[in-house]
């Protein structure tokens, strides 16, 4: 995405609005295949390992041939992002009450990050564009329909929760990555970091940090990642509930503008 037209092009690509040709040789590949291959590479080797060459190699085809299917690598990334959101949430599984529904939604969301760790690396540069991601958006909004939240606050909550899930995922992944980089088991990484901090606080200039380190916070995880995630999620949902209860009918005031 670099120029004005590319956003529109990407949008059309995501919604399958690009008419397929009739004349000419039959394509040997398909956009879906290519996107799937790219996702597999990202899953196993990370997002930065996804290159047009590597994808093309999977099909025994030259790099340039991919450009017959996908206008640019950036568009491929956008397609990947929407593909892993397919087919969208199963609304029949979504609980009735807004709180349970949001809880369910956030957990499903987190699952995507677990399945595709490269998501935390993904350079999000705009709100949901593709059909599948928009279905997820729809689900979250539908979850909040009986909650008493204003439309403005619904969107705000959606963004808050999305952000939380991503942060939590990033943090969990940083743990794994930190361990990998130091050549240590993930459970040991905390100890390694604690050891570094112990050296740092030895000079006495970081008394608060020293107390934390001495309390052993970094040496062992408080809980597993799942419990951590749930803990924070409950915290946020409590806040949202309090928000709803404290101001029965009114939400935030919209700033002027008719």
């Amino acid at each position: 995405m670099a120029d004005k037209s590319s956003a529109q092009r990407t949008f059309e690509l995501l919604w399958g609005l690009r008419g397929q040709p009739t004349r000419g040789p039959k394509p040997s590949l398909s956009v879906e295949q290519i996107v799937q291959a790219a996702i597999e590479i990202a899953d196993s080797e990370g997002l930065e390992a996804v290159s047009m060459r590597k994808v093309a190699e999977r099909f025994g085809v030259t790099t340039m041939s991919l450009y017959r299917y996908v206008p640019s690598k950036n568009d491929l990334l956008e397609l990947m992002l929407d593909a892993i959101a397919a087919p969208g949430p199963d609304l029949s599984q979504m609980p009735e009450h807004w709180r349970d529904a949001l809880h369910w939604w956030a957990r499903q969301n987190m699952e995507a990050f677990r399945r595709h760790p490269w998501l935390v690396q993904f350079p999000f540069s705009h709100p949901p564009f593709g059909p599948n991601n928009i279905r997820w958006m729809e689900a979250a909004l539908r979850a909040m329909e009986g909650s008493g939240l204003t439309p403005d606050d619904m969107v705000w909550v959606l963004i808050l929760l999305s952000g939380y899930v991503r942060s939590e995922a990033a943090q969990q992944l940083a743990l794994v990555e930190g361990a990998r980089v130091t050549g240590v088991e993930p459970e040991e990484w905390g100890r390694v970091y604690a050891e570094m901090l112990r050296k740092v606080v030895a000079d006495g200039d970081h008394p608060a940090l020293a107390r934390i380190v001495e309390a052993g916070v970094f040496d062992a995880p408080v809980q597993g990642p799942d419990e951590d995630f749930e803990y924070g999620l409950t915290f946020l949902l409590d806040g949202i509930e309090a928000m709803i209860n404290s101001r029965p009918p009114a939400g935030r005031k919209r700033s002027s503008r008719p």
Copy 2:
């Protein structure tokens, strides 16, 4: 950062533990200069525009000469991350009460993202390593010292707030970026996105989203970015306060482990 030794190397580089040589020609550059130049490039052209070549060009020097100062581009990035955190928070400015202090801390944090938008792009892969970032960490922990939070929860709150600030910054930047990509003024971008969604919801498959779009949520921002940031921050601090009040002495239980 790819192998075991690199984490240690980076750590030493950050803390200036690499002894300077005495013999040989005088260096014409310094690590500080190089890092500063890289930051300037990132500030004006984005993080991905930072290349060893571009940095070297600023000094009229070959690309490879930089490697006399910095072991790898990755280390340069780490140095940049710590450099923009310099000189650390001014603790004399930090309010007394934990809530005000955390508020102050988060706002300062947000300022860093505003000054250096590439921060949201930064591939964080571990907790704070460098002296300046650790000073910020110390400040946040010190802020919470009289709050009644357990050490575990202090760290948890720190991570929660950091995540929130980053999310908010990312969202604000996505707005600017989305506008740039569609070739439109930032204030208009909401309208452009709303227009896209209007096309999407026309099929009737997204009733909840349709209602939100019709409510005009995307057409005009509810508030400016500052108010939005404060709104969320207050929400989180309220939650933390509630957390403290609801369980006076005890925090989360640590999971077994002696």
